[in-house]
């Protein structure tokens, strides 16, 4: 039915508009930044990393935004996804008690990582989802601490503090090529660096991602689009409504015939599966999976993205994730040098010099990075307590005219 709506009405629908803008931005972003920076792919690489966080935020939004379950250990599922890929796509298991290297293809592990994370989500959810509110949050917090601790302390499996490196790159058959193949077109022409999935000792010609930011960027954009479509479908379905009903009033939801335990379990498992996705991608693009990447601060950062973007609203959550990523990885690190040069331009260059207790403006701003981050968060939450783009009354399946028709019919039926 949506397809029959006029363009104007579609644009009126703010969510659709945001999706449109995001999509266009995603398309022109690589060209623009390469043009501006004279062919550098540094920005694209940044964006490809940011995409991991977008996926995580979309997944956590299912748990926190839709079903209203506060999950403070979301990074654990991210870790599980990342380790699933890293273990089966590197030489790590060769030095484990298993004594056998696996080099599974990325695409298979993407799906497998999803299922493994979902499985752990269900495993954690099963005994804990009888808890409510704060109690559930504490248990998830504990789980979030256990997983990195396990990977620190099981070095024969996870490499422990030394992390897992040299992770296989994703690759596609050699004929898949195009503008997104970037510099690796050449790699393909030169030959081969991909293992035959059936006979893992032989190599076949292929198009390997080989750390090419453009290829990863295209991949993450496709993954995010897929995730948004799936989560949107869920949101507008029987299950999505059940989640929201549980969020609003669990007792009433149960009285309406919703099995609250399995419904919450599904929220946990589906939310976790997206971070499993994100984990496999992260392992591939970062080429290093270390317990340090999945600490409590990761869970909190994703939660901040969800809350700040607008809990429950998918497009808002995406914007929130991008905004926080930008602040954390671009704005804050460059703040110190920007402040320094600003001071010298406006004639306060003396501030830059170190003097007594004053470490100079550069050092001072650097020291205050996270104070500034906190201030930004507090400011946004004060100005927009519902998040940047809060969830709103859904556009309904019925068009405007249909609603008015119903309403006029209702006049007669209104008084029983």
């Amino acid at each position: 039915m949506m397809g029959r709506l006029h363009l104007r009405e579609r644009i009126r629908d703010r969510d659709q508009a945001i999706y449109g803008i995001l999509l266009i931005a995603a398309l022109i972003f690589p060209m623009t930044t390469m043009f501006v920076s004279g062919g550098s792919t540094a920005y694209i690489s940044q964006a490809a990393h940011a995409g991991t966080w977008v996926l995580l935020a979309i997944g956590l939004n299912v748990v926190v935004g839709f079903a209203g379950l506060l999950d403070l250990g979301y990074a654990a599922f991210f870790a599980i996804g990342a380790y699933t890929y890293a273990l089966f796509a590197s030489t790590q298991l060769g030095s484990s008690p298993l004594h056998h290297n696996f080099h599974m293809p990325f695409w298979l592990m993407l799906i497998l990582g999803m299922f493994v994370a979902a499985g752990f989500g269900a495993l954690l959810g099963f005994p804990t989802l009888r808890l409510r509110g704060d109690y559930l949050a504490i248990v998830t917090l504990g789980f979030g601490e256990i997983v990195p601790q396990l990977s620190y302390n099981l070095p024969q499996w996870t490499g422990g503090i030394n992390a897992i490196g040299n992770i296989d790159q994703p690759w596609l058959p050699g004929w898949v090529t195009g503008p997104w193949a970037g510099a690796n077109n050449i790699a393909f022409v030169q030959g081969s660096n991909c293992r035959n999935p059936l006979d893992q000792t032989h190599f076949i010609p292929c198009f390997s991602f080989a750390f090419d930011p453009i290829a990863f960027y295209v991949l993450i954009v496709i993954l995010i689009i897929g995730a948004v479509i799936l989560v949107n479908n869920l949101y507008r379905s029987r299950l999505g409504r059940a989640w929201m009903a549980i969020r609003e009033d669990e007792v009433a939801a149960a009285a309406m015939g919703i099995n609250t335990v399995t419904t919450k379990l599904l929220a946990f498992a589906i939310g976790a599966s997206f971070s499993g996705f994100a984990g496999a991608y992260y392992g591939a693009i970062f080429d290093l999976v270390s317990p340090d990447d999945f600490l409590f601060v990761v869970s909190i950062t994703v939660l901040v993205m969800v809350v700040l973007g607008g809990m429950g609203n998918i497009s808002g959550v995406i914007v929130g994730a991008l905004a926080i990523y930008f602040v954390l990885n671009t704005l804050l690190p460059s703040l110190a040098s920007n402040a320094q040069s600003l001071a010298s331009t406006i004639g306060l260059g003396s501030l830059n010099a170190q003097q007594g207790d004053w470490p100079g403006l550069y050092g001072e701003v650097q020291r205050m990075q996270f104070l500034i981050f906190g201030l930004i968060l507090v400011l946004i939450m004060l100005l927009r307590p519902q998040g940047l783009f809060p969830s709103r009354v859904r556009e309904q399946e019925l068009t405007h005219s249909a609603v008015q028709e119903e309403a006029s019919v209702a006049e007669e039926g209104a008084r029983p």
């Binding site: 009285a255 099995n259 309403a407 209104a414």
Partner: protein, 257 residues
Amino acid sequence: MSDTDNILVLTNLTKRFGGLVAVDNVSLNIKRGEVFALIGPNGAGKTTLFNNVTGLFQPTTGHVIFDGREITGAKPHQVAKLGIARTFQNIRLFDYMTCLDNVRVGRHVRMHAKLWDSLFKSRRERREEERVTGEAMELLKFVGISKQAHQYARNLPYGQQRRLEIARALATDPKLLLLDEPAAGFTPQEKVELMQLVKKILTRGITVFLIEHDMKVVMGISERIVVLDHGEKIAEGSPDEVRKDARVIEAYLGKSA
């Protein structure tokens, strides 16, 4: 009386909370297609009895038999699926969902879409959604609030919230509808409308079991009444019989000097 005449049978139902006996050895049976009322002073255990029937509480002893099936100790969602729907004394709507969605949640238990259907919007799922949206609009019209379909439930005036709760309960296709003080806080006009609505619900073949304080409403629509006091059943019968019962008068007005 054969079992098929009774939609709900409670036998020796008791609910204890520690030392407090909230429902004390209550037996009653509700016939198909009647309006059965449960009355009693505040704290008599009426809502506790409802909660025992709908699975929110587990009875300490006794049995709940619905439609010829023992449902003692069943979970709330199982009870709803079998065909008992309810409203709440202190309205419990899904505040930040639209009225239409509130009713569609009620339809949940009669829907068949699996996770897979929902994820990929299968044709079956889309058809079901369309059908359910139509049915939900129909129910909103039935209770007279279809104009408010796209508003948040919390933004409705009080009377309409009560109606929405009834629509949501009806959406589960119940055989037995439990109404917990549906007329509380209503104006006389609204009470008349509510009574008409209950009669309309009866024509759908649904049995109504209600708790109500307002005697005019109770006497006006119910065929049989049970009176609870301190968790005990003290009277049962037609409105006229109950009105004249000495123990009922005592429970409500206190012992005469």
